[in-house]
Symmetry: C2
Amino acid sequence: MVEGSGTTGLAHMSDTETLDLEAIHALAGTALQAQGFSSAQAEAIARNVTAAERDGCLSHGLFRIPFYVAAASNEDCDPSAVPRLHTAKGAVVQVDAGHGFCPLALEVGLEALADTARTLGIALLAIRRVYNIASLWPEVEWLAERGLVGFACTTSVAYVAPAGGTKPVFGTNPMAFGFPRTDGPPYVFDQASSVSARGEIQLHLREGKPLPAGWAIDAAGQATTDPEAALAGAQLPFGGYKGASLAMMVELLAGPLIGELSSRESQAHDVNNTGAPFGGEFLLAIDPEHCAAPGQKADHGARAERLFADVLSQEGTRLPSARRFAARERHQSEGAAVSASLLETLRGYC
Amino acid sequence: MVEGSGTTGLAHMSDTETLDLEAIHALAGTALQAQGFSSAQAEAIARNVTAAERDGCLSHGLFRIPFYVAAASNEDCDPSAVPRLHTAKGAVVQVDAGHGFCPLALEVGLEALADTARTLGIALLAIRRVYNIASLWPEVEWLAERGLVGFACTTSVAYVAPAGGTKPVFGTNPMAFGFPRTDGPPYVFDQASSVSARGEIQLHLREGKPLPAGWAIDAAGQATTDPEAALAGAQLPFGGYKGASLAMMVELLAGPLIGELSSRESQAHDVNNTGAPFGGEFLLAIDPEHCAAPGQKADHGARAERLFADVLSQEGTRLPSARRFAARERHQSEGAAVSASLLETLRGYC
């Protein structure tokens, strides 16, 4: 979701106002509480969107607040839900989000996931009954900053056709991965199983621009570069049948495996058509200290740095979250530019 | 590795002879033992290549035997290695393959992986110091046939350029996934992180055919459809930067995380230039019974069937291993056609 979508398209659409990160956090939290969210749910979401603004991922920053408010209009959505943690004897940790939102469910589950991984070497966190409209990099980055390998994926709403097919089945089904680094921020990617994020197509529509070829098909199953036809048709998985296989893997892990909805079922559940996916998130954490050869010290850090150097020694390359980390440096000191019309909407909530 | 490469290209290259699966197994085992492999190593490899012939995956069938023999010419390769299983208290199982081949190491490790997953919900198997020239679907299928979700990945030899770069860093780095089904064979895919398998480029070279666009770049970093220039240059990841992210994830999991070589290090280790990757394999097994909501029965099977039906109800779709399972039905009763020149080579080993 982040790469290619995060830092483009939104800021130049209107006049902007620069806010420091504390002001962004305060505005998000206040707006959500004024709209009936509990302070715990509102604060967790505010931390999440502020991190996105900090990193220049505008499509998951304050821009998301109206999506949260719309999702809360679903009859079964509980913007004051108290997530419940369930830890079994084994390596599987579960959080019942109680029809609330994912940021608070993660705050309730991530420590237990990390602790279990440190004890057993690997652990799985299943988050259930959750409205999830955030990006996935914050949770894998949180794990990687604590020395753990992180993996996360989630279903969304059926927008993407299977390989060879013409009708939407899969969500844009993002998958995120984090690996700790000995120096500096971790290796992190967070990418949709579709060629493009849904929001990128909506931005092309709003700006009256045709889509790049290969992003989508229309309702008749024909290739299209018309954003409106694409939204009425289906997005395509990235990389053809291989991306479709990954989209299916994500569906199976974050859906059936943990007793949760598929992207199609999530869409059917969204009777108000808010576009907010409801279902599950699947996470893994692995402790490299448990993965060293018996009797040897873990040397994953030094080995990984050799690999990153192999990539970065080539001109034209970069690691996935490089732009995000660069934006972070800048926005932490200078604040972030927020669209004036978005600010007007959010201030109207308060 | 299987999709797109398995069932094409080899059989029509010369006259063939049809052998039943027992004869294929016997020939593989006898040839390898005559070339100095222990009976345990030879039999495990024979089972692996026979399963590939049974499923029509010719590039991982008897065709691989000369690769095993070539790999055994490496000074550190031990074709009689006895893999050693190491189980810790937690969820991480390890196998030291002792510079032998992967099929026997898997036979030593998979039961322990499955048992640990059944006890704790999830388990990780790290296979180390292994020559790995087999496909990955057999191990995830083995897990899925036993009701477990399986994931496997491995590094190979540096053939693939990173996103934005021009020089090989990643291997073709396959990733395989298996999910149990209530009826019939499991959902299984096994796919390279590169657009094409290495062997497909070699086949184009042998047949004097140009490559499809987008598969490779030449040594100067320019797009090429010339197989020879591609082999001297670099293959491309599938789906651009997203496939490159997956290739890096595979490198990190099967390399640094478990204290093993990267694909570049594996290539440097291969002083005889046999093309046989040496390093690690990373596997996961998840028991769905541990992933159901507390107090509820696991319903992953029924939920997954709804998802598969959503895909298969569309004309033009199929699930990833469908061709392989169809070939299996056929070859189990009718035997499999093997290239006469390949048979001549193998009989020459005996």
